[in-house]
Symmetry: D2
Subunit: 412 residues, 4 copies
């Protein structure tokens, strides 16, 4: 039997890391002896465990290393990570370390350094002047960059669901329509107030159903009250919001009457034309052409917005970033300060944003279709709390809850 | 060319009957000449058209007869309907006339008589003493009953969607999530106030998601305010409502905390046991065991309810009618006076109710799944306005809208 | 510190019981010492662990007892279960033990006895002559029956997902449309062949979409080849199957042309009338009226079927059991010998069947709507492998796979 | 009463234009007299009708003009269209005529000219040298371009659903899961063979579920057999196809085992890296790195593909066009020769393609989610036949049907 020792640190009970490690050791044919378990006094304190692992062969030990690392296990006597210079622009060396969205540490010169800008599906580059390690998207590799290769000298620190989901510790990962909706929406409101009070930025990722279902007024109110600092959307949300402001319709349907306007199908294109003639959304606000709605509120309240182009865009609005990699990089920069993300009714932009977020940024994702939420979760954004409900009533209840909770108790 | 004359009467413009008749004549190879068109002055007045139809052969004429009858066309010189005595209990003669949910008239002794108790998928029996014609479910046939056979001497009067859907004239039949929800909900509230003010009964058909999503309090309020006179549901709605009243949970989840109770999965069964021990829902209310919730409100406010059994029922509650044909017949009796139907989150009971309703009873059907609404519509309940939204927020907004509209203008 | 010892036995690694127990002890503020772990040599051998549990107070110990029992922990020095006579018909004593679908043992006279007829949401009765313990639905309680009350002297043996799901050990519980469908269908075919070869009965629970989508011929072939021994369905499946056999249509749509028949909406009612006139399905087969289809095959091949009534039934067919509690009890009897269950496109009958099955009967549930599968899983049928796919292609591929696999390797 | 005469030409019965025109005249308070109706002998011949329209006021007449024009009515004595020079780049004059996807004619110099490149949500420009009228996307406007403004001198020729949907004349627009799937798939196969035999190009618009569900082999076979000439997709389809070719997995799941590969979540990124290192898909094929799959088949068989970028793309592959307007314009060019479009499992690319297609290009759109199909139809692509079914089985059945039908009768 070969013997090594691992250490587990952090929220190893809440994250079920301890149990998973022991079960996996046994399932892979190994044996264990628990040397030490020290549990944090309160739920949010860190715990600590040392476990002796025994395996029958070098291969068995290697498999155990890889598997247990995924639970955050730290092996005794680790090596430094291997750094290889990129041999070309725009691609990694073949055996590059591929990141997850979990907090990652790289060992260098015998010291563990936390990786900056944690994001899934990247490589890790050592930035020369500061010597920092940082996640790097593939298309930003430059020849000569020092890239972490292999699994050696890299470890993860798993976040417990609780820390990520905050007030949502109660939620299971299952997506279901049969939940007490208003209770959950009030928790969401509480988290938003908490994030705002903590000085964190709140990000809204939204689709055009916000306008179609008649929720613009609620979203506008959230912006005015200071609960949206960044907006990620596409051409469609902005276009239909502006259509609504100019014509009272969305996709040609009057929001306040639910009837189809006579040449309503032309409205969205005329709205785009108007903004293009004005030179952009901010210019249209300035000139008094655009007087209400979500985009108007964004301009008035300094909300930073990224309108990322898509191949189905009409127009598009001058503010749309038509190169998707440019748009993605702008989003990457903006998510760094974000403390809470609300995703509503857009698969495209939600998955795009989920790709950029570290696992510890809390996300609430709202869609009327359960399969949208399953897709998001399949793609690794496991910290997401999925809420299957309708867009307009969601924002209506959310705005009401914020009004009540914010005045009642400023810090919840 | 064989020539005959047809008459169209009623809402032939709103129902597009005129256009459909002309298009179908041409499509089937016939020719037409419009003899007379008299259009009602206002939208709701009846119109009238006489059209000469020419066909190339007797077969072509027969096909035209059948097709145009579906648009409500009345052929000149019709015969009396054929009546055949049933030759056995529980089944019709082979060529029985099969009803739709459209208003049907039977010609007898040269007079057109309106069929009573209009309902799809029935036969028509001549009730001997009064000489009335009445829809009859197959399992209620008695040997010797006089049953209408063949298509001769039967005509339909089509209802325009507008008359049936009232304030929903704007709605297309399409089921979509991307509609202005609150506007539609306010219209629904207006229709309910209108029906209540007209002295009609309001029927709620509901599933257990009403309780799971936390909407019981809103439904209770609707009952207290006099907007529900009849309730159709299954064991599950009543059980989880009572579970909620007794334990605060639904399917074991605390409604006000959204957390799972420790032995929560047992609650619904213990709730059933409690009611069975008490001898039924009304008895439990009387004894003070059941003090709140939807079923409690039904008992207190004299709402007539049918809890129809299903094969998946636990318990069931003593109030559940376990023979489905008995339950169906009880529902058949109760829908006769109903002026407005709200169906929420139950495919089974909604389709069951839709089967029993004439085409002119307005129905609003709410479900978070569009496919549920498509199913209902596929099964012939075409007067249904489908609303894809979430249950709790729907009832929350509906109750708010009723509060506002009812005080503002008692008759809308 | 209070100290007790627990034993875990069975598939404690595969079921993650060991890890869950240790994590829960720590999460509830307790401590543990692993006294012994003996792991089965092969995956399917049973394992064994003894763990010393320490708690700070009697209350903490009680909470631990309840929580760890849910993972199958057996506490040293257990008491006998408490038996209380029922004080009335049709209801349990207030503190009755409420069953799950996990294998349950009751301690009596110092001996552990396995509970028979394991089924969720029942009580447990001691059957006097044999002295056996057996699950008992609430409505079958007789005054004087000895009912297990409280939690003492009852323990569970958890089944690992693997044992239940057999060839589906690879499947996670997540319901997703984005899976390699044919691979999964071939596994399902393998399990069906395996069950058949093992002399177990196969149960098909099916909805009318089987006929609407054109899958009857495949299902008929499965019946003919001996892969369906029991069928649970409602009136609708049988009616549309017979409509298809008599008229070539389902809901009025020709299956082989996908066009609407001229008076197609009448066909299903005429089909029911025909069978009622004949005196039932078997009689119609005998008289040569019904010559093809699923129900014909059932009659010809001795498949036992339960057609459970529902409140939306037209007719119904004479074979339908209109009292749902009678139907449920007939199903309860028939599931006892079943070794594999295939549920397709029916929420009602699938959930009804899921309620009756012990956790170790493998179930594959197929539906085109993910939310249907989520509902089933929410209701405790956790052994179910959910497959989101379309009905006709599913049966087409399944029948092909069975043809190939069955001839290739009779025992897989 | 003001009197004018309109002419209806084309498939006025199949498109229900005649009936719609008459109903609308009456609904808007006008009167009519049918002067002449000449119906084509066969279904596909053109018909002709002249109708005298009477209105009470000039306003009523103007409303009638606008409404009846939407049914393709041609008014006697029309004017030439108004042409206005664009006053800036990238935007139309304010009152530009906004196109639909129906065949449009512009009157110029007393002659009706058919508009080229028909596409919805564009303007119409007169191209100076040839004097042709052509649809023009907003972002391609140059200052000085002559743009059609107002509605005068523009008429539509409506296509009957039949012509567009070919063999699908039977299909209603309703999206339902309860249809005979294989019958519909065989019709689709027939249309594809017909289009291929007519020398038309076939366009496949596909999402990554093609790979996830295991349908790549069927799609590859369609390409090899000459049934795909153009492919529109995103990065994801190509990436997972290449992941599958290199690793056997899609999203990390082995397609032939349905099990998760050990570090499977890294595969797609390593696949992208490999192609980026090789310099692109064609280069990877050339060097023998990429030996199978959909993209390999495209390269080998000269299928033109557009991989349009989206903001959620990892990598992306070097072949992805990251500027969405460039990608859209490339798609615009390629759809011009296309005679049949198959859209599968991608909302983004399907809607993008639907935007570019004239109403007479037949489209079959396949998705497992009905709401995706409703969205497409809400956005104006009304010629689309929606099929709710699963991806892998769809392609499996389609490929089988093509094999059978193509050998049996080359022209169907």
């Amino acid at each position: 039997m070969l013997t090594e020792t691992i250490t587990l640190e952090g929220h190893i009970i809440d994250s079920r890391a301890l149990g998973n490690v022991l079960d996996d050791i046994l399932a892979l044919g190994g044996e264990f002896k628990i040397l030490e378990v020290a549990i944090g006094q309160s739920k949010y304190e860190r715990s600590h465990a040392r476990i002796e692992v025994r395996a029958k062969s070098r291969k068995a030990l290697r498999d155990l290393r890889r598997r247990l690392s995924q639970h955050g296990a730290l092996w005794d006597a680790p090596d430094d990570a291997e750094l290889t210079p990129a041999d070309m622009d725009g691609a990694f060396p073949d055996d590059f370390y591929c990141t997850t969205n979990q907090q990652t540490w790289v060992r260098h010169g015998g010291e563990w350094q936390e990786v900056r800008g944690q994001e899934m599906d990247c490589g890790i580059r050592r930035d020369p002047p500061a010597g920092e390690f940082r996640c790097l998207p593939m298309n930003q590799v430059h020849k000569g960059d020092l890239i972490v290769c292999g699994h050696r000298g890299v470890r993860l620190e798993l976040h417990d669901r609780q820390r990520a989901s905050g007030a949502f510790e109660f939620m299971t990962s299952e997506v279901s329509t049969e939940k007490p909706k208003n209770t959950i929406i009030r928790r969401c409101a509480g988290m938003m107030i908490h994030a705002r009070d903590a000085g964190q930025k709140l990000l809204l990722v939204g689709g055009p159903a916000i306008v179609h279902t008649g929720a613009s007024e609620h979203v506008t109110r959230l912006i005015e009250r200071g609960f949206v600092h960044v907006l990620f959307a596409g051409n469609a949300l902005a276009v239909h919001d502006i259509e609504h402001s100019l014509y009272g319709t969305s996709l040609g349907v009057y929001i306040d009457k639910a009837t189809l306007a006579d040449t309503g199908h032309e409205h969205h294109l005329r709205a785009i034309n108007t903004i293009r003639r004005a030179g952009g959304i901010a210019a249209a606000v300035e000139r008094g052409l655009l007087k209400s709605g979500v985009m108007h509120a964004c301009v008035k309240h300094g909300v930073e917005f990224v309108l990322a182009g898509s191949v189905r865009d009409d127009g598009p609005l001058p503010d749309v970033i038509t190169d998707v990699m440019v748009a993605q990089d702008r989003m990457r920069t903006l998510v760094r300060d974000v403390g809470f993300v609300l995703m509503v009714a857009t698969a495209l932009h939600s998955i795009a944003t989920g790709n950029l977020l570290p696992a510890w940024t809390p996300v609430v994702c709202v869609d009327i279709s359960p399969s949208m939420l399953t897709k998001l979760s399949d793609r690794g954004s496991s910290q997401t709390v999925g809420l299957v409900t309708d867009v307009e009533p969601f924002f209506r209840s959310l705005a009401q809850a914020i009004d009540e909770l914010d005045s009642a108790s400023p810090t919840l």
